[in-house]
């Protein structure tokens, strides 16, 4: 009965896709959970965590400052022209500060770190996989998850909130530069409105986002690299695809989780 088969095929395909998706989701979660728990297995890998904080955090500071500065300036500019119509340019400080602390800070920090460190993580781990270095760790009875993934997770959890904080502060001064220094909003108003409108809950919300983005980014990027060998493409091609999908998937997921988190946090 060909008609029944024709009917069944798309349903079967859908079912298969759902199964594959669910399985992958479970794998990603277990990957993170194992990596996270192994952070606490003694002896602690302080030295390795420090090295990764330097790589993910310290080396991203410049690019984060640059992005934050210009983002703040654009917010100042756009905000000024929107507010000037209503004659309430004094509210510029709160507009800039709230958008930075609640949204722009965590999201743009995550995206910049994905571009700089996430891609590097995926490529590095991917190359280790294809050159059998991960197998070599296993033969030495070294848990590759503990050795490679745990320090990166720990480092991301430390770095993301700190980078977000830097982003917020630098962004605020960027807004001051365009709003007050160039367009003439009273600096006292700008800063006092910024201070009075931002509440502790906003700051905490921003940090929660930063921590969730850290988890999403580091898990996806490491996972993509770690399972490079399961792809249909081998060798350098496999690593390049892993890196690309690490960046694309984690960027998209950051934006999706941002929306979900915002609905809860508001």
């Amino acid at each position: 009965m060909p008609s029944l088969v024709t009917l069944k095929t798309p349903i079967a395909a859908l079912g298969r896709e759902v199964l594959v998706f669910t399985r992958d989701l479970g794998r990603v979660f277990l990957f993170f959970a194992r990596g996270f728990l192994l952070i606490f297995q003694p002896p602690f890998q302080f030295d390795k965590i420090r090295q990764h904080i330097f790589f993910i955090g310290m080396k991203s500071v410049f690019v984060i400052c640059l992005t934050a500065g210009f983002t703040g300036m654009v917010l100042g500019l756009q905000g000024y022209y929107a507010l000037v119509k209503y004659g309430s340019t004094a509210a510029l400080g709160s507009a800039v500060a709230l958008s930075l602390v609640r949204e722009m800070g965590p999201v743009l920090t995550a995206i910049m770190v994905i571009a700089r460190a996430g891609s590097a993580m995926a490529a590095e781990i991917g190359i280790m996989r294809i050159s059998e270095q991960i197998d070599a760790l296993k033969t030495m009875d070294i848990n590759p998850l503990r050795y490679l993934i745990s320090p990166r997770i720990a480092a991301a959890l430390v770095s993301f909130p700190l980078l977000t904080a830097i982003f917020d502060v630098v962004g605020l001064f960027g807004g001051y530069l365009s709003g007050s220094a160039l367009l003439g909003v009273n600096p006292a108003f700008y800063f006092s409105r910024a201070q009075s409108s931002v509440e502790t809950s906003d700051i905490i919300g921003g940090f929660i986002k930063a921590i969730v983005f850290a988890v999403v980014t580091v898990t996806i990027c490491c996972y993509q690299g770690y399972y490079t060998h399961t792809r249909a493409e081998f060798g350098a091609k496999g690593v390049s695809i892993s890196t690309t999908s690490a960046v694309v998937i984690s960027c998209v997921l950051v934006l999706v989780t941002d929306y979900v988190l915002t609905t809860f946090l508001l």
Partner: protein
């Protein structure tokens, strides 16, 4: 081959993609023995090795360690088991983000309880043994292929493992280093009694150090036995494979390979039996190569052996056949020669050795002394080749001893 096997593979099947890479492998690996696995490229040798260490799980069949199935072991048991193993990867698999020193130290660093100074001492010792000097702070990408290979060996041996799996440990090394690696494997086995599994293309050199040889073909064990067995095997596939890979000359010394030598020996025997043309054999062995290994390193001992072979070649005639009989033995087949003439041949060698400086590679170590023993036998038409060789082994006397 007493006792039950240490590792046993029973009907191991592995399917990768659409290929049945292993198709019912049955293999026993015995404690304290070196097992060589030979076979064509892509016949599944590396996959087999990875099953032994647990990087691959079999799709069918089982792997037993000391009679217990590994898949039935608990996680701590498997970890304890894994610690007994070491693995030398074909493409070295060195950590490219770590220096040579850190690479070799890693297995010790990650095993808790080692003192940093002790770790560095052990790592340096291993690196020196493998002739790796002044490379501590270099990264793997700054080393040549041969050096990387030796760093990988150092990393595998630094933990003094009980079982070492070598995936083509000598591919890409020059003859002296290749022989040095072989002599090191063999020396380690003698000293620490480790069990080795070596995937190798080095035929016939690997036969000198292996106690057992298994040939794998199309996912199955085509042949299993001693090196002598496989060289006498009548199976066409096995013969073709061995003869195809075997070079007529020994890489290190330039003298004939063992199979050529054995062939000449058989020819001489039949000439003797048919036409009563006498011939003699001289079996010379350097028995204290191991001492040189220990004092001056494996490279030095191999170089000395090569120089010794040069002396033998210089003193032999075109019709004589010199061949490498074992890792430290050279046999000379002297046609048309009786025992007295063979003895004078030996005297000639001992004279030239006394008058030349054989010690060049040992200059830096003064108290190294080495000796050569020789056994001379004239063949008798009614005795077999094995008896002849046994008589030569038995009748060995000191041919040369360096002045004390």
């Amino acid at each position: 081959m007493a006792g039950s096997p240490l590792i046993q593979l029973q009907d191991v099947v592995k399917i990768l993609g659409v290929n049945r890479v292993l198709d019912g492998i049955n293999l026993s690996i015995h404690r304290g023995e070196i097992t060589a696995i030979i076979g064509k490229s892509g016949s599944g040798k590396s996959v087999l090795l990875k099953h032994i260490i647990g990087l691959f799980e079999p799709d069918g069949g089982s792997i037993l360690f000391e009679g217990r199935t590994t898949s039935a072991m608990s996680a701590p048991e498997r970890r304890a088991l894994k610690r007994k193993f070491s693995y030398v990867f074909q493409d070295t698999a060195l950590f490219d983000f770590l220096t040579v020193l850190d690479n070799v130290a890693l297995p010790l660093v990650e095993r808790r309880g080692a003192v940093p100074a002790e770790i560095v001492r052990r790592v340096r010792e291993k690196l020196n043994q493998l002739d790796l000097h002044d490379v501590d702070n270099k990264y793997p990408s700054q080393l040549s292929g041969g050096m990387k290979k030796r760093v990988a060996l150092a990393r595998a041996l630094v933990t003094d493992p009980e079982i070492v799996l070598f995936d083509e440990p000598t591919t890409g090394l020059d003859p002296i280093r290749k022989n040095a690696v072989h002599s090191m494997i063999s020396d380690y086995q003698r000293r620490f009694g480790f069990t080795g599994v070596v995937v190798s293309h080095e035929i016939p050199d690997i036969f000198f150090i292996a106690q057992r040889v298994a040939m794998i073909d199309e996912g199955r064990i085509r042949f299993e036995g001693t090196p002598e067995d496989i060289q006498r095997a009548s199976d066409r596939e096995v013969r073709n494979f061995i003869e195809g890979l075997e070079s007529p000359r020994d890489d290190l010394t330039g003298i004939a390979s063992q199979s050529i030598g054995q062939q000449h020996l058989r020819q001489e025997m039949s000439r003797l039996q048919r036409h009563q043309i006498p011939f003699s054999i001289v079996l010379m062995s350097m028995d204290n190569l191991e001492d040189i290994d220990r004092i001056a390193g494996h490279m030095a001992s191999q170089t000395v052996f090569k120089l010794f072979a040069d002396h033998v070649i210089q003193n032999s005639y075109v019709a004589d056949t010199c061949f490498r009989y074992a890792i430290n033995k050279i046999m000379v087949v002297l046609p048309d020669t009786n025992e007295a003439q063979a003895r004078s041949f030996c005297l000639k060698i001992s004279r030239t050795m006394r008058h030349s400086a054989l010690f060049d590679p040992l200059d830096r170590v003064r108290d190294v002394c080495y000796s050569v023993n020789a056994g001379v036998v004239q063949a008798q038409p009614d005795s077999g080749l094995e008896d002849l060789i046994a008589a030569a082994e038995k009748g060995q006397a000191i041919l040369y001893e360096c002045p004390k």
